[in-house]
């Protein structure tokens, strides 16, 4: 691809473009299947067996089993598709989004109530905002990690 991808220099973000879409095709189509109640039941009963019905990579399956959404995104998942897994487990969008920051649910909710994450330092890779790679994971997890 010789096309510009100007979004590559934004920190903490994956843009779902054609390349990601190709990588994540089966992962995302698996997620779509969870829009049927009977499939959600089957998936919850035996996640591994259900996943094995799909031609996904082992890494993709593991990311789903671990509910590691950052990993699932890197492997081609799209958040609107992945949200169906969260819904199946009874998780809200806020819980899912928060899980990608390393913050606890309470920490993330408190950040949102205080007006959300600031844009300052988070526009370009190489700045010093809290979404930059050098500051992950965030919240309590980050403080523990740096000890």
């Amino acid at each position: 691809m010789a096309l510009d991808k100007p979004y590559k220099d934004i920190p903490g973000t994956i843009i779902f473009d054609a390349d990601q879409s190709r990588k994540g095709y089966h992962l995302n189509q698996f997620c779509m299947s969870l829009m049927k109640a009977e499939n959600r039941e089957r998936f919850k009963r035996d996640q591994r067996a259900y996943l094995d019905e799909w031609p996904m990579s082992e890494e993709q399956k593991q990311a789903v089993l671990d509910m590691d959404l950052n990993r699932a995104m890197a492997l081609g998942g799209n958040i609107y598709f992945l949200a169906k897994i969260g819904a199946t487990h009874g998780k809200s969008f806020q819980q899912m989004a928060g899980s990608m920051t390393g913050m606890s649910e309470e920490e993330y909710r408190a950040m949102m109530l205080a007006g959300g994450r600031s844009i300052e330092g988070n526009r370009h890779l190489g700045e010093d905002g809290d979404a930059q790679p050098q500051h992950q994971p965030q919240g309590q997890a980050g403080r523990k990690a740096s000890v």
Binding site: D17, Q29, N70
Partner: protein, 293 residues
Amino acid sequence: MAKITASVYTSHVPAIGAAIDLGKTQEPYWQPLFKGYEFSKQWMKDNKPDVIFLVYNDHATAFSLDMIPTFAIGTAAQFLPADEGFGPRPVPKVIGHPDLASHIAHSVIQQDFDLTIVNKMEVDHGLTVPLSLMCGQPDAWPCPVIPFAVNVVQYPVPSGQRCFNLGKAIRKAVESYDQDLKVQIWGTGGMSHQLQGPRAGLINKEFDNAFLDRLIADPQGQASVPHIDYVREAGSEGVELVMWLIARGAMDDVAGNAANSIATHAGSVRVRHRFYHVPASNTAVGHLILENI
């Protein structure tokens, strides 16, 4: 002759739908948000349209990765609320307006917009949450709705300028329909939000309010802002805001045909309501009502 009487702009956060459906609107977390829509519900009663042309995006509900239409117009007689993973929302089914929708499709395709015509689809929170916010919890929605879905899931999404020009083409299509109908056009989605990655939770109040100012006063200028600015400043999902430009492009003060990107002032527009609130779940909520006068 049909006429666009007003445009409505609002975020369509799924958690807002859940708050309404679960009776939480008076909880401290939600109360300030719903207060911002009290005016709007009364305004809807006082200004009941005959049809709502509702611009939204599908969130991997009706459209999987098998087919991704850039622009899709719903021409069916009805559209059922979808099961997005928690079961369908307990809201009325959406009654379409096949005749007007087909007319608009016919006209807009001939104005060089390459629509996909959809005769069967379910609609998700992108469409039903705005209806709930504006109409509350009625047994039936107040009028037929034409769903118009824009791809903002897989990049590249249509540009702000393309959306704005599409709005102009829709206005022309509506005005060539021979029944006397009052049509509202709604633009939904946004405002700043990012749902993924370590940057999740981004909110940019300055960007959002500047967007609202400019959408009102200089929509052509706002239309020329590239995607990357939305993604960088308003979050990866903030790009949904381009959909507001479709509704804005259909208003009276934006003249000229779709191929002509220069707006001249042909009529005027009044701001009836403006509201902004943070947060709803991960998202900044913005809301505007503009009337043609």
